[in-house]
């Protein structure tokens, strides 16, 4: 009996009645730490296409020529909001959430280079790759028409009937060798590695 009276008293409290009959749905708020689509900052884009090359989603970002400047454009519906373009940009043209602050604080960056790989089973030793390469032509103007060269400075040359890659680090990733290879035996791959600069130790 006492408990019934207790409950009736409890349920007749004005605060309780107000809470029960005028309950309001909390407004729908997006938490502040959610990372949105990358936005443009006031920095100027140099058109290096680092963002386009690192983008894992097909058609997520495009760097377009607008009048006399490059402008990166994000396409919602393609962009997956991973933020890699923000991290890859050296100029800081894009911003998204806390990414720029974190990369600045941790001194992280991306290092990229081009990796050349020749599939010996497909390669027929024609030397087209060595001849077509514009860097090879610069390094050794006397490059033979079969791809042989006496210079050690070329990216690749035919040596003993095989393609030998000497200076991978000179490759600019133009992929001229890939387009001139009749068997698609040579592949140019852009390799990306996250690097972390250590703080300079004062001696």
């Amino acid at each position: 009996m006492r408990s019934i009276i207790y409950y009736i008293r409890e349920f007749l409290r004005p605060e309780w009645l107000k809470k029960f009959f005028f309950a309001k749905t909390a407004p729908l708020v997006t938490p502040s730490y959610f990372k949105g689509y990358p936005t443009l900052t006031d920095k100027e884009c140099t058109g290096c296409f680092n963002c386009m090359m690192i983008c894992p989603a097909p058609g997520g970002i495009e760097v377009l020529r607008r009048k006399d400047q490059w402008v990166p454009e994000i396409y919602p519906g393609h962009c997956i909001r991973c933020g890699l373009c923000v991290e890859a940009c050296e100029e800081g043209v894009l911003a998204s959430g806390r990414i720029l602050d974190i990369t600045r604080r941790d001194r992280t960056a991306f290092r990229s280079w081009y990796h050349l790989e020749v599939d010996d089973a497909l390669c027929m030793r024609c030397g087209n790759c060595c001849v077509s390469c514009p860097i090879n032509k610069q390094e050794d103007p006397q490059l033979g028409s079969s791809g042989t060269s006496s210079s050690d400075e070329v990216i690749m040359r035919i040596e003993g009937g095989r393609v030998r890659i000497l200076h991978e680090e000179k490759c600019t990733g133009c992929k001229t060798c890939e387009t001139h290879c009749p068997n698609s035996a040579i592949r140019v791959a852009r390799m990306v590695e996250g690097v972390h600069e250590e703080k300079e130790v004062e001696a």
């Binding site: 519906g77 962009c79 909001r81």
Partner: protein, 149 residues
């Protein structure tokens, strides 16, 4: 008549029934839809109920880039939903195919080729808040004063 219509509108705005169909996604968007059901976002406090049965649904959430097995079946599901109905594409997949939209993958996006899509929620995956606000903003457009149109 208008009082009856007002009552219908008031009831319908608090009773949106949702069915979701996964037409070949990576399950990321399914998990975000699941997060809408969980106490953090609690989809039922906005008057949205998930039944996952097209025959009693008002809103169809299409999740995933359309795989060949779904090409003819997606239309069947859409036809089973009684009028008034609306389809919302959740995530990048039904819009563009997202990361599956490349050579050698068995997907046929976009979903709007097969059924009329009223709203699209981009993102990979979209936030639960984005899914919720999309459903809440598209539902009144379709269901309000439905009989008078």
């Amino acid at each position: 008549m208008s009082i009856l219509q007002d009552i219908k509108n008031a009831v319908r705005s608090r009773s949106i029934h949702v069915a979701y169909v996964d037409v070949g996604s990576c399950n990321g968007c399914d998990i975000e839809v699941l997060a809408c059901l969980a106490p953090r976002y609690d989809i039922e406090q906005y008057g949205i109920y998930v039944h996952n049965n097209p025959r009693e649904a008002d809103v169809l959430l299409v999740i995933g880039s359309v795989t060949p097995q779904w090409v003819d079946k997606l239309r069947d599901i859409w036809d089973k939903i009684p009028e008034p109905k609306v389809a919302v594409a959740i995530g990048n997949c039904p819009i563009s195919g997202c990361v599956y939209n490349r050579r050698g993958t068995l997907t046929e996006p976009p979903a709007s080729k097969y059924i009329p899509i009223a709203a699209e929620v981009p993102g990979c995956p979209p936030r639960p808040t984005e899914i919720l606000s999309a459903i809440l903003s598209v539902a009144p457009l379709i269901f309000k004063d439905y009989e008078e149109r």
